[in-house]
Subunit: 165 residues, 2 copies
DNA sequence: GTAATAACCTACTTAAATGCTCGGACTAAT
DNA sequence: ATTAGTCCGAGCATTTAAGTAGGTTATTAC
């Protein structure tokens, strides 16, 4: 079992998509900036998310990614799974052949733990996260910062335009 | 978060000690044989278990390891923790400074998950495991095999003794 | 049609951890 | 004195995460 930034990034990015749903395709550059995740790394993660048909893409200018299903139909477990971070706690993948063909002493314990984790993460959808207060707070902060940055760079280019006149 | 054979080995080995409690010190060689874990690797794991005072050791012939506390006072979480396999799912160690100083979008989600896992593993003691049917079954199988092996090697040495006569 | 944008793809790099092995030193019972 | 055991450090092969770099293709806007 393993849960690193890989799975956390994937969930964060998907949640970012869910939060900005209805605003058209969201570019990875935007997500990268808002969530502080390397753009190239995001590309690799979204390749997997796309292969698992959790997102759909639009190429070209104004393009980006969108959720491929309803928010409430995408669970955290699915996202973590899509980027190959199994929350399976057994070493044998539940086969029970952990100790050269036979069941090891603690096999069932890890099975129980796997069930526990999986049902927990399976029970949480992106829609559930979007309405949480702690998520909303962080999202608001990020959006303010992001839009003000957009404003600043827009102002910059206006000034640059003036300068070139 | 990470749970690999390292933590699983540690719990398995501790459970082995719990199962053979009252039989004096248990050598790592015995555990290695019964549980199919490399002896040298066990040594490294038990160094950590000892440093966390989960076991006490007896050196010299007839020596080995014993639980340092009552079976019911040692939880699976403690054992996993002792070998440095944190079941902490956040990247920031609950600090909330995940995204360059500020809280990331999914921080609270991973906190919840950590709580879930921790309370689950914390609620299971070695005593709980010892009485489980699935554990008993495997333990019986291992003990039969182990004692018959001891018998065989004993017979071997008897025969060897006879041969040398 | 040309430039810009953004998805898409492949390959490489760095760092860390796992799961071992090996060799030896210390300690205590026979 | 020998032997059975714990103790300790170094080293090693493999895997993975996480990120870099460099490019190609599709689409829009000018």
């Amino acid at each position: 079992m393993r849960l690193t930034t890989k799975g956390r990034y994937a969930v964060t990015a998907m949640l970012d998509l869910a939060l900005h749903e209805g605003q058209g395709p969201i570019s990875l550059a935007d997500i990268s900036e808002r969530q502080g995740i390397s753009l190239s790394y995001l590309e690799q993660l979204f390749a997997k998310l796309r292969r698992n048909s959790l997102v759909k893409s639009v190429r070209g200018p104004g393009g980006g990614y969108q959720l491929n299903h309803e928010k409430q139909a995408i669970s955290v477990a699915q996202v973590v799974d899509a980027v190959n971070e199994s929350v399976e706690a057994t070493g044998c993948g539940r086969q029970g052949d952990c100790q050269n063909g036979e069941t090891c002493l603690t096999h069932h314990l890890w099975c129980d733990l796997s069930n526990q984790i999986h049902s927990f993460l399976n029970g949480i959808s992106l829609a559930d996260l979007v309405v949480r207060k702690d998520v909303k707070d962080v999202a608001d902060r990020q959006d303010r910062r992001h839009s003000s940055q957009v404003f600043l760079t827009a102002t910059d280019s206006l000034l640059a335009d003036k300068a070139t006149v």
